[in-house]
């Protein structure tokens, strides 16, 4: 059957339409969905979109900031309050993709894609999910664990507390090709300092599991330690705990596990700079 397009002023109406139409998908930046349609996915029969301004807004309140799900990578990179995330946003595709790809879409990107979500995970973001006419905030980690089972809800935005010290946020993406490339792996780390020790670090990986994951064993091993060879040794030893990377055309599972500690070490030792 032909493909229909439905446009709604309000996100909640869009969410409602998604819930009642089995063939409906929400159109954000289009980088994933339009490709599927071009490639012949005829299970998609309706494109739902929304012109709700909340969807594309960046709102900050105190140290908390909310990015509408329709905010693009380029908008993140250009936003004065989000300069520490610029290196992350700039590793998503080339310039055209960054002008189109959204925060919301990135939450659904399959491994080895979804590097921005890795950063959001390290910042302990919550995801605003509109299911029908009700909305709820879900911790990102929980959202990622269930995202593939819940295709009927609409993500409207992500919210997180901005680092007190933006230089405590670190990001590293390893790709085979440059400057654009899919991830061998990516690492985002928020390493707040207390004196010369790391306090409650948050580390997240991309491409090391079916979805971006938190590196909790490494976080625990790093907590209260200094960022030097000795201080990070336990974290490196625990680096791959909980990882279950895939073998794909970018890299094998063996290689990802093998080099993750190498790149984590480089990120952590580079951190004081």
């Amino acid at each position: 059957m032909p493909l229909a397009v439905k446009t709604f002023d309000q996100l909640r109406d869009a969410a409602s339409a998604l819930g009642t139409d089995a063939g409906a998908r929400f159109l954000g930046g289009g980088t994933l969905l339009m490709r599927d349609i071009n490639e012949g996915d005829i299970s998609i029969t309706t494109l739902v979109r929304s012109t709700d301004r909340a969807f594309t807004e960046i709102r900050s309140s105190g140290s908390r900031i909310t990015l509408g799900a329709g905010v693009t990578m380029s908008e993140v990179a250009a936003h004065p309050e989000l300069q520490y995330l610029k290196p992350v946003a700039r590793t998503v595709g080339g310039p055209a993709i960054r002008n189109m790809a959204t925060i919301g879409g990135n939450l659904f990107a399959f491994s080895p894609y979804g590097d921005f979500t890795v950063a959001m995970l390290a910042l302990e973001a919550t995801v605003a999910v509109q299911g029908g006419y009700s909305s709820r905030d879900v911790p990102l980690e929980e959202f990622l664990a269930t995202r593939d089972r819940d295709s009927k809800s609409l993500v409207t935005g992500v919210t997180f507390r901005q680092p007190d010290n933006p230089t405590a946020f670190h990001y590293s993406k390893v790709s085979r090709t440059h400057p654009k490339g899919a991830s061998v792996l990516s690492i985002a780390a928020h390493l707040p300092a207390s004196g010369n020790r790391v306090s409650s670090p948050r580390i997240a990986y991309g491409a090391m599991a079916p979805t971006p994951i938190r590196a909790k064993a490494a976080e625990n091993a790093l907590n209260g330690k200094s960022l030097d060879e000795a201080g990070i040794a336990d974290a490196l030893a625990a680096a791959t705990q909980g990882c279950s990377p895939a073998s794909d055309s970018i890299a094998s599972a063996w290689y990802r596990n093998e080099v993750l500690p190498v790149y984590l070490k480089r990120l952590l030792l580079g951190a004081p700079n």
Partner: protein, 162 residues
């Protein structure tokens, strides 16, 4: 498929068309308006041959829903030369022999124009980033990078072959 009306500016000229509601911008430009410089290289958003400028921003027309461009200003390579005179980027691509088969060339020019319109004096690294979403299988990229740097009048960070 139902038809919807759409108005937009194409290379400075007003256009009004009835289009399939789910049509991509690429199919509208190529099939409806007769603009063939954007190419269907992959229709996956991974090659850059369909690149156009929408309100000055580089976009991939193959994965852009056409009706989202209502009221927008769209630029393609067809609008680059003025009064028969080539745009400096086009001239630089000629002078540097930066086109071989020509299939990626129009997308490359759009990516380069998106950069130079906002940043007239980019570094080599910025040029490399600007074309990073555009695949070229013929040139090895270096002639394209050099052409874009030439069009800026500078050659910051460029290495030159002997």
């Amino acid at each position: 498929m139902s038809q919807v009306p759409i108005q937009f500016k194409l290379n400075g000229q007003d256009k009004a068309e009835f289009i399939d509601e789910a049509a991509t911008l690429l199919s509208v430009l190529r099939g409806k308006v007769g603009i063939t410089s954007p190419k269907a290289g992959c229709e996956q958003g991974t090659c850059g041959t369909c690149s156009v400028l929408i309100d000055g921003e580089l976009r991939l027309s193959c994965i852009t829903l056409a009706q989202t461009c209502a009221g927008a200003s769209i630029e393609t390579v067809e609008g680059m030369d003025t009064d028969g005179k080539l745009h400096p980027l086009q001239q630089a691509f000629l002078d540097r022999f930066a086109a071989q088969c020509g299939f990626c060339t129009t997308g490359m020019l759009m990516a380069a124009k998106a950069l130079l319109d906002k940043n007239p004096n980019p570094t080599r690294e910025e040029v490399v980033d600007a074309i990073s979403g555009n695949i070229c299988r013929c040139t090895g990229y270096e002639p394209i990078i050099e052409a874009i740097l030439d069009a800026t009048g500078g050659s910051a960070g460029s290495y030159r072959r002997a």
